[in-house]
């Protein structure tokens, strides 16, 4: 997760251009391997010497670095290819070609490995070693549906390589062998990013569904959407403390917590900004526990308080404990939906029918339709009237606008920073009193609190 991120495609981190430079790089010479001459080989000793010189490091560090280069396959041994060590003697090594770098072909594909094993098998019977024979048979079963392709590719690649010079062919075989020694996939376990046909099918099938669904959706013109961002930012500009400051001062800057104390839940007189915010949207009113309280008072005057009570009870059902769902659904039905209920809510007949049917198999979202109906009823009807009411206007009129406290005359005299009671403690106290759990901490919007 999270690579180093200096732009995406770069070559292997271990590759240094000058290392293979004929003039400045490691001394390379032709090496005899059996009876064929391998060009551009070098001794282990040469590699270490070069690293010491170039990077001005100790022999120990050079051996370590060189050893890593072999382990990761950027340099491979010609003699004893299965021993991935850098020997500081005259053992011959070669630089791996970029095509076979681990970084070029990561992750190693099972299909590719199968082709390699098939090639080896075709070239000389019995050339596969034990674990290779095992892998071959596992792959033959696993990706059997691609086997025609595997065999075809193996034959084609062998045919193409027969057309090379013998020395080149041997070099290629060495390189390929070196690559697979290090990068062979673990065929016994599924690779994390392995693309089997089923995964690919699932992926394309899924994206087709997503695209189709997206094509079916109603989109809104950009001009309308973007205009709404402008309006929103403008409306909330003076409420944004970082943009416009806050009164009497920002507690983090002045060390004075007045701003928080004058905005608590239980404060006698709210601030003007706070009351103004209730008029921005119905959600703003409901999210502020004081706003919600005021709205309830208004609804009581209008004899429609049961709507808000119902909405609160539905919220409690939606976000409450799973174990209490059945109980809560019963309560809601008894208080709000049953014929002759004490606080009967007026929902349209279709929604009522659907809800009553659903109550037979109660779950957390069973009241969603009814809740939404009542929510929009309040939003379209009661809420706008509340904003025009005497109750709200009076609230706005008597709301306070605190004086701005300028920064202290003696800024170097830091105020004492007082701690505040932890919400956990407040709750513990109210719990002891036997009141409802989850009483809001100082100055918050309310959570699922059935008491208003």
């Amino acid at each position: 997760q999270g690579c180093n991120t200096m732009t995406s495609r770069t070559s292997s981190p271990l590759y240094h251009p000058t290392m293979t430079d004929p003039d400045m790089g490691v001394k390379m010479r032709n090496q005899r391997l059996l009876i064929t001459v391998i060009p551009h080989a070098m001794t282990g000793n040469d590699v270490i010497e070069w690293l010491i010189q170039k990077y001005n490091i100790t022999e120990e560090e050079a051996r370590h670095l060189g050893g890593l280069l072999v382990q990761y396959g950027y340099i491979y041994p010609l003699r004893d290819p299965r021993s991935l060590l850098l020997r500081s003697d005259d053992s011959p090594y070669r630089f791996q070609t970029p095509y076979f770098w681990t970084s070029s072909r990561w992750p190693a594909s099972e299909l590719d490995y199968a082709i390699y094993l098939a090639k080896k098998n075709i070239r000389k019977q019995g050339e596969l070693v034990d674990y290779e024979k095992e892998n071959y048979s596992i792959l033959h079963k696993r990706i059997n549906h691609t086997w025609d392709f595997v065999v075809m590719q193996a034959r084609e690649q062998l045919r193409a390589s027969k057309q090379r010079r013998k020395a080149d062919r041997i070099v290629l075989e060495c390189q390929e062998q070196a690559y697979w020694l290090i990068n062979k996939p673990c065929v016994n376990m599924p690779l994390y990013y392995h693309y089997t046909t089923t995964i690919l099918l699932r992926y394309y099938y899924y994206t087709t569904i997503i695209h189709r669904r997206a094509l079916g959706r109603n989109r809104v013109k950009s001009s309308i959407c973007l205009e709404s961002f402008m309006k929103y930012s403008e409306q909330y500009l003076h409420h944004d403390p970082i943009m416009s400051g806050c009164l009497p001062s920002n507690p983090w800057i002045s060390d004075d917590t007045s701003h928080w104390t004058i905005n608590t839940d239980m404060v006698g007189t709210p601030t003007r900004l706070r009351v103004e915010r209730w008029s921005f949207s119905f959600m703003e009113l409901l999210n502020d526990s004081m706003g919600r309280r005021e709205f309830m008072i208004y609804l009581e005057k209008e004899f429609s308080a049961e709507n808000l009570c119902f909405w609160v009870a539905c919220e409690d059902l939606r976000h409450g404990e799973s174990s209490k769902i059945i109980l809560k659904v019963e309560e809601v039905y008894k208080n709000f939906l049953a014929p002759g209920a004490a606080r009967w809510v007026n929902i349209d007949s279709k929604t009522m029918e659907r809800t009553l049917e659903g109550i037979k198999r109660p779950h957390r979202f069973i009241m969603d339709d009814a809740q939404m109906h009542i929510y929009f009823l309040m939003k379209k009807d009661s809420y706008p009237r509340y904003l025009k009411s005497e109750l709200y206007k009076n609230m706005l009129a008597k709301a306070i606008v605190p004086q701005e406290t300028k920064k202290s005359v003696f800024p170097f005299m830091r105020r004492q920073r007082h701690s505040s009671p932890s919400p956990a403690m407040v709750t513990q106290a109210t719990e002891d009193d036997g009141k409802a759990k989850g009483a809001g901490p100082t100055g918050t919007s309310s959570t699922t609190n059935s008491q208003i």
Binding site: Y99, R105, S109, P241, T257, M425
Partner: protein
């Protein structure tokens, strides 16, 4: 030269799909060709029933994708920059570090605010989770998790509990006790179980439900009390790295971002993926909703932050600069949504004008990557957590 014997193109446009990918050297009817591994796999299946289906499905997916692009373009009648021309230019932003919270012994990976506007929970690489009163900088609670790399932590809405998790593949809830002698770990409750690391967690509207995202490619909704899985969300094709809950009035969706470069919007009730955005070039490390809920911002390893409009169903703005070359790890909006704060892997915090798309300020101070950034609930400050083991409050 290291080797002239076998020259092959190792990276470039695939002969089949034209995408720039690592290439395999193949032979088809004696002709050498260069295919990416995906196309090679598809080719290997050709001629079979599934091979045919795969090829046609892929083609269909591409056609639909192109159609979608066209449809989106039709309704794009103006750029955000143009609309924002009439917005007032922002003055100079003077934000400083007002508090530094020292106490973690290792990289800070995640933090969250309490609804009381001053308390914070933070988690770090060494397994410690600390609850602070950021105003006084006092530590109030500390928990040592039985795992390292605690990549996710969250404060419960009531302020009475915290949730956290990481390499243990779980999300656990700790009720906050005020008894100083009590071992918080004793009351720990294991809620979520994934099959790979936990990358993000958040409580929904109450203490009773938690939404988690994981390296196993899924997100999930859990009942805290019983630990029951309520809904799971499948659709990312790689690790899910981040999530955020929508503030909308019908409150039923959330957005997630992943290593597959996609940002997906989900319906909490049905588990369905309702919208998808895939314009980023690399992993999406963080997603955050715009305050109105009509859009969300993302921070990515491709060193850009972007704004996606949900109603227009498209990306509407990119926040980037040539001089910013390192990945963005975390973003959050100021209260009005006008400013976007973003923490980067080059140790800085950039402040963007969301509407005009320009950078308003760059904040220095951290001595290592900024891993996590959140604005306080009342918008008076924001907190940044960093790999330099500290948290800073800026205002």
């Amino acid at each position: 030269m290291c080797d002239q014997t076998f020259l092959a193109i190792t990276f470039g446009p695939c002969d089949s799909c034209s995408e720039n990918r690592p290439l395999m050297n193949l032979y088809i009817k004696t002709e050498p060709i260069n295919y990416c591994s995906l196309c090679m796999e598809i080719m290997a299946c050709q001629g079979l029933a599934s091979g045919e289906t795969l090829k046609s499905l892929k083609a269909e997916s591409e056609t639909l994708r192109k159609k979608l692009e066209e449809e989106r373009k039709k309704l794009h009648d103006v750029e955000l920059e143009k609309v924002a021309e009439k917005a007032e230019a922002l003055g100079e932003l003077n934000m400083k570090t007002r508090r530094t919270l020292k106490g973690h012994g290792n990289k800070v990976l995640c933090m969250d605010w309490c609804k009381d506007k001053r308390r914070i929970v933070s988690s770090s690489q060494d397994g410690k989770v600390i609850v602070w009163d950021a105003f006084t900088t006092n530590k109030e609670h500390a928990v040592t998790m039985p795992t390292t790399w605690v990549m996710a932590c969250a404060y419960a809405p009531s302020g009475c509990a915290i949730a956290c998790g990481g390499l243990d593949n779980k999300c656990s809830v700790y009720p906050l006790s005020l008894d100083k002698d009590e071992n918080l770990a004793a009351k720990k409750k294991s809620v979520a179980m994934h099959t790979n690391y936990l990358s993000g967690c958040t409580f929904t509207n109450s203490d009773m439900q938690i939404l988690t995202s994981s390296g196993d490619g899924t997100s999930a909704l859990w009942d805290v009390e019983s630990g029951q899985l309520l809904q799971s969300f499948h659709g990312h094709s790689a690790d899910v790295l981040t999530l955020d809950l929508a503030p909308s009035e019908t409150g039923n969706t959330f957005v997630s971002g992943g290593s597959d470069k996609k940002a997906n919007v989900w319906d909490l009730r049905s588990g369905q993926n309702v919208q998808s955005f895939d314009t980023h070039d690399s992993d999406i490390n963080c997603v955050k909703y715009y305050p109105s809920g009509d859009a969300f911002a993302s921070a990515s390893d491709d060193s850009t932050c972007r704004l996606f409009d949900l109603r227009a169903d498209r990306e509407v703005s990119i926040y980037s600069k040539d001089s910013i070359m390192f990945g963005a790890a975390s973003v959050d909006f100021s209260l009005s949504g006008r400013l976007l704060f973003a923490g980067y892997n080059d140790y800085t915090i950039n402040v963007w004008d969301v509407l005009k798309g320009t950078r308003v300020a760059i904040l220095f101070g951290h001595e290592n990557r900024v891993s996590s950034l959140r604005v306080s609930p009342d918008g008076t400050a924001f907190c940044s957590g960093s790999w330099d083991n500290t948290l800073r409050i800026w205002a």
